[in-house]
């Protein structure tokens, strides 16, 4: 069966004003099955966020192709939504209005928007905060809003670009568990980019290690841990073996 997301030989270079071009992606291949949770792990600057933006449709590769459900990607679409590392909430909108943003752009009627937003606010655990402004929320709460907003348009693919990087360690752990709970209910295909191997293993079905820039797919690891994932799994020998394997694949790519 053809994979849900297919990237074949994707090349992309950045050409900043009068500096030498930077190759971000070099022959990048990946296949993601429907409903799969796949993490991409790689050193800083390896192009993982760039690839995510290609799937999102905001960046066009120089060559190669990316197919979703057999169709070439030609710009942003309502089948994909992104959760951003810096949250990206419109500061002048309340929580509810932020969540409704995608629905507004799809010209959904306002009653429907409100209903969807309300359900998602409940799903991400922010009941009671509908009329708050982003600056009144903690980092974890902001990211919940980001997640709810991404889910509001009911995309098939959720793209998550280091979504918990801006949170403190404790909040981060909590949010990972929350994400799994929400994902179990929402059942989307997830492409998750992170620096943290622990996080990748805990969350994913598969972990792909990316090389340093120019980035290409180095090695993929299947995470054979049972679902639902429990926090205790993080201290099992199996977890640590996986962690060591992935680290070995990753460490050669990291420049110090």
């Amino acid at each position: 069966m053809a994979a849900y997301i297919q990237a074949r030989n994707v090349n992309l270079s950045f050409r900043p004003a009068n500096r030498t071009p930077v190759r971000a992606l070099d022959g990048f291949d990946i296949e993601v099955q429907e409903g799969e949770f796949l993490s991409i792990v790689g050193p800083s600057g390896c192009g993982k966020s760039t690839f995510l933006n290609v799937v999102l449709g905001l960046l066009k590769p120089d060559s190669g192709e990316v197919l979703i459900h057999g169709n070439k990607i030609a710009g942003p679409g309502s089948d994909r939504a992104m959760v951003f590392q810096e949250f990206g909430l419109l500061p002048w909108r309340t929580v509810q209005h932020n969540i409704e943003l995608g629905l507004e752009l799809k010209r959904a009627p306002s009653a429907k928007r409100g209903a969807i937003a309300e359900r998602l606010i409940g799903l991400v655990g922010l009941t009671g905060f509908e009329s708050h402004y982003p600056h009144e929320l903690s980092g974890g709460m902001k990211q919940r809003v980001g997640l709810a907003r991404a889910l509001a348009t009911d995309p098939d693919v959720l793209l998550m670009d280091e979504p918990f990087a801006a949170l403190d360690a404790q909040t981060r752990d909590l949010m990972q568990t929350e994400l799994l709970r929400i994902w179990r209910e929402a059942r989307k295909t997830v492409l998750f980019v992170t620096h943290q191997i622990d996080e990748a293993i805990y969350l994913s079905d598969r972990v792909m290690v990316m090389s340093k820039r120019p980035g290409h797919a180095k090695k993929a690891f299947t995470i054979a841990l049972p679902r639902p994932r429990e926090y205790e799994m993080r201290v099992t020998p199996k977890f640590n073996e996986l962690k060591l394997e992935i680290w070995n694949a990753l460490k050669d790519e990291i420049a110090v």
């Binding site: 992104m82 002048w92 943003l101 995608g102």
Partner: protein, 282 residues
């Protein structure tokens, strides 16, 4: 490069935000502030009784009570309205033109890096130059009527508006633009959803600064190159040593300025409710 005076960088251009907003401190600050003003007025009022004033200087000296009496007279006899109306008209027309020109230009400069680079030398040059230096030229071209006044008001007010609007547009968070784009927004949607709300506080600050400059413009234009208006009244009064009228005029101009900028500040606060509280140094 032309920089703006906006929320963070224009230091101390207003009553500085006092540390702490506990109500006891607020009462204290209001009380002390009022007391200081009252004290000053009292000292001024009583000074001629205690200090010997040379006969020559007496011509120039006046006291608050006489000034307020003159103010009262100006309003109760209605003699103030005609000149004030003329000044107000020049102010309003000049300011309106400045908004009409400054806002779109500011948006253009914010969106187009090329246009910005090309116009920047001109904006910097005119912003740094005191508009007053153009007054003789404007009088040469436009005469001493309404239009040279309007021109000076316009020149003074257009730059804060232009610069602040530009900064507001430029300042739009790129992450937010990408966010909105990722949901399939068109360029128009991006402008409507991100750039406009983000620019609004900056534009409002621009308006506040423009008001101050516009009033200044009216005053200087009427001092040197006009036939009627409150400023003309003041200059004539000065040359006939009618000091009371000069001070009265100043109070009227200052009062109007404070009222208008105060109203704009209220507007600023209402449009900025979504901003986290910064140490406002504006």
């Amino acid at each position: 490069m032309a920089e703006m005076q906006t929320l963070d960088l224009e230091l101390g251009a207003t009553s500085g935000t006092l540390p702490g907003t506990a109500s006891r401190q607020r009462i204290e600050s209001i009380a002390l502030g009022t007391a200081a003003i009252v004290l000053l007025l009292l000292i001024w009022e009583l000074a001629p009784h205690f200090l010997p004033i040379k006969a020559g200087t007496r011509l120039f000296f006046t006291v608050p009570s006489r000034i307020f009496a003159t103010l009262w007279e100006m309003f109760s006899t209605g003699s103030i309205w005609a000149p004030l109306g003329v000044s107000a008209a020049a102010f309003a027309i000049g300011l309106a033109l400045a908004i009409a020109a400054g806002l779109p230009l500011g948006i253009l400069l914010g969106r187009s890096k090329t246009m910005n680079a090309m116009l920047d030398p001109f904006v910097t040059a005119f912003n740094a130059t005191p508009r007053l230096v153009f007054l003789p030229l404007l009088m040469l071209w436009l005469g001493i009527g309404m239009w040279s006044k309007i021109a000076i008001v316009f020149l003074g007010a257009v730059f804060p508006l232009l610069i602040n609007t530009h900064e507001g547009v430029r300042n739009a968070d790129k992450v937010l633009i990408n966010v909105v784009r990722s949901f399939g927004a068109s360029e128009w949607d991006v402008a409507r959803l991100v750039i406009l709300p983000n620019s609004l506080p900056f534009i409002v600050v621009g308006v506040r600064l423009a008001i101050g400059r516009a009033i200044l413009g009216v005053v200087v234009a009427e001092f040197f190159g006009a036939q009627d208006g409150l400023g003309v009244v003041m200059v004539r009064a000065a040359s006939s040593f009618n000091v009371d009228i000069v001070f009265a005029g100043l109070i009227i101009f200052a009062g109007l300025s404070l009222i208008m900028t105060g109203l704009v500040r209220l507007l600023e606060e209402r449009t900025s409710r979504w901003r986290p509280q910064r140490a406002a140094n504006e």
